[in-house]
């Protein structure tokens, strides 16, 4: 596997605020990554540094083997679809599509046209008159049709309805299957995209919390429910990421696979063991006190 992004000890500080704090990771060619984390975790700051739109405070960074700043060779291989992309005042949808080939050498005009039809985008409408969902759809059209070796989507489906989101996943997988490339999906809506991801990076409060294959994470946490004393005894020495007491009962989420003996022991003690989804697991890991707002969604 070829490494296309290598980041070591990357930090971005604003005064005393550490927006990104000593983050290291690698991205390999041809994989779909999920950059996951809560609002304000530092996801967008990392993406801005990767795409040379923001200077780092410290650390090392190589994109396609080179320093990205003012480096046309690197930057023309990247397509970054921002959450709130600004367009020139007079631009219509078709103007955006007409200038895109200038920035993206692999631009596929036919793919762009068929996506415009799928998303029912009004070509002659001004960008500033578009709804939030349509603005997101334009970003998706540009991101997919760019066929850039590194394509980054930051919260790509803000305001998109369920039909359009489904369309995005279908077209992304179809085009990725034919033209494999590295794709980063940055989002806080984990359930929606988790099946599409091959690898997961979780950012929390500026730090990298998790860097793991999605399939390895699935099924690597369990929920243990039972009387509080028995649950506590069972969990001694294990990595517990979440506890929620309920009367005399306790529900706890524990990291790591449970062995067959441990499962038998739990059954003897009258404890129930249940599965934990990827989203629940990340919510528990990034929620400071276990009752954050995302858990309620």
């Amino acid at each position: 596997m070829t490494t296309i992004v290598e980041v070591k000890g990357l930090s971005k500080h604003y005064g005393k605020v550490k927006a990104v704090d000593n983050v290291s990771f690698k991205l390999e060619e041809g994989k779909i990554y999920g950059l996951l984390g809560r609002n304000g975790a530092g996801k967008t700051t990392i993406m801005h540094m990767l795409t040379a739109q923001l200077f780092r405070t410290s650390g090392e960074m190589k994109v396609f083997g080179e320093e990205p700043y003012e480096n046309e060779k690197v930057l023309k291989q990247i397509c970054f679809i921002k959450e709130s992309q600004k367009y020139p005042e007079t631009f219509r949808v078709k103007d955006v599509l007409n200038v895109s080939p200038l920035f993206f050498p692999n631009w596929d005009k036919e793919l762009a046209q068929s996506l415009v039809e799928d998303f029912r985008l009004p070509l002659k409408r001004r960008m500033k008159k578009l709804s939030r969902g349509m603005l997101s759809a334009v970003g998706i059209v540009v991101g997919l049709a760019s066929r850039a070796p590194l394509t980054i989507f930051d919260e790509p489906y803000l305001g998109l309805d369920a039909v359009a989101r489904n369309l995005f996943y279908d077209r992304l997988l179809a085009d990725y299957g034919e033209h494999p490339r590295t794709i980063i999906l940055s989002t806080h809506l984990i359930d929606e995209v988790s099946q599409l991801l091959e690898h997961v990076l979780v950012i929390d409060a500026g730090k990298l919390l998790l860097d793991e294959e999605a399939e390895t994470l699935r099924g690597s946490a369990s929920n243990v429910v039972g009387s509080a004393a028995k649950v506590d005894a069972f969990l001694a020495g294990k990595k517990v990421i979440h506890r929620s007491p309920f009367g005399g009962l306790m529900s706890a989420t524990v990291l790591g696979q449970l062995s067959k003996q441990e499962r038998l022991l739990a059954a003897e003690q009258g404890l129930e063991i249940g599965p934990v989804s990827l989203q629940q697991m990340i919510v528990h890991m990034t929620g400071s006190n276990g009752n954050n707002e995302e858990a309620a969604q």
Binding site: K31, I32, N166, Y169, D170, L173, A174, Y176, G177, E178, D191, S194, Q195, L196, L197, E198, A214, E215, T216, R218, G219, P275, V276, S277, L278, Q279, Q280
Partner: protein
């Protein structure tokens, strides 16, 4: 969008199980061609690398085999292999949990046997 995957278990295992189910039910007869990796990915809306991992699991067990340049096929005689594998899992997966729930409800072993007989008759 097809039946959603269970996000609390590895998806490649679920893909392998679903292909095995299709073989058991005769949807995929022996020596028939299975869909391509990209077709799996599109149908289940999953990452192609995950689909590949699931299919490779079945290739490793000799349930599917590769014809170079053509695709993936169901091997001959594998229905029996899957049936015996599933029979082994049957006790743990269904019987243990059923007995546990029956115990909770105060259903005796005799009553449980009668219920199973009744269920079998109605099938």
């Amino acid at each position: 969008m097809s039946f959603p995957m269970d996000d609390s278990r590895p998806i490649f295992v679920q893909i392998a199980e679903r292909v095995e189910n299709d073989i058991l039910e005769g949807i995929l007869p022996e020596e028939s061609q299975v869909p391509s990796i990209n077709q799996f990915a599109a149908f289940y809306q999953i990452n192609p690398a995950t689909a590949l991992k699931g299919i490779n699991l079945l290739v490793d067990q000799g349930i599917l085999y590769k014809k170079r340049g053509i695709g993936m096929f169901v091997a001959t005689g594998v229905r029996e292999i899957i049936v015996s594998k599933r029979k082994e899992q049957f006790y743990e997966q269904y019987v243990v949990s059923m007995v546990k729930e029956a115990h909770k409800l105060g259903i005796t072993a005799e009553q449980l046997t009668d219920m199973i007989k009744r269920g079998a008759k109605e099938q």
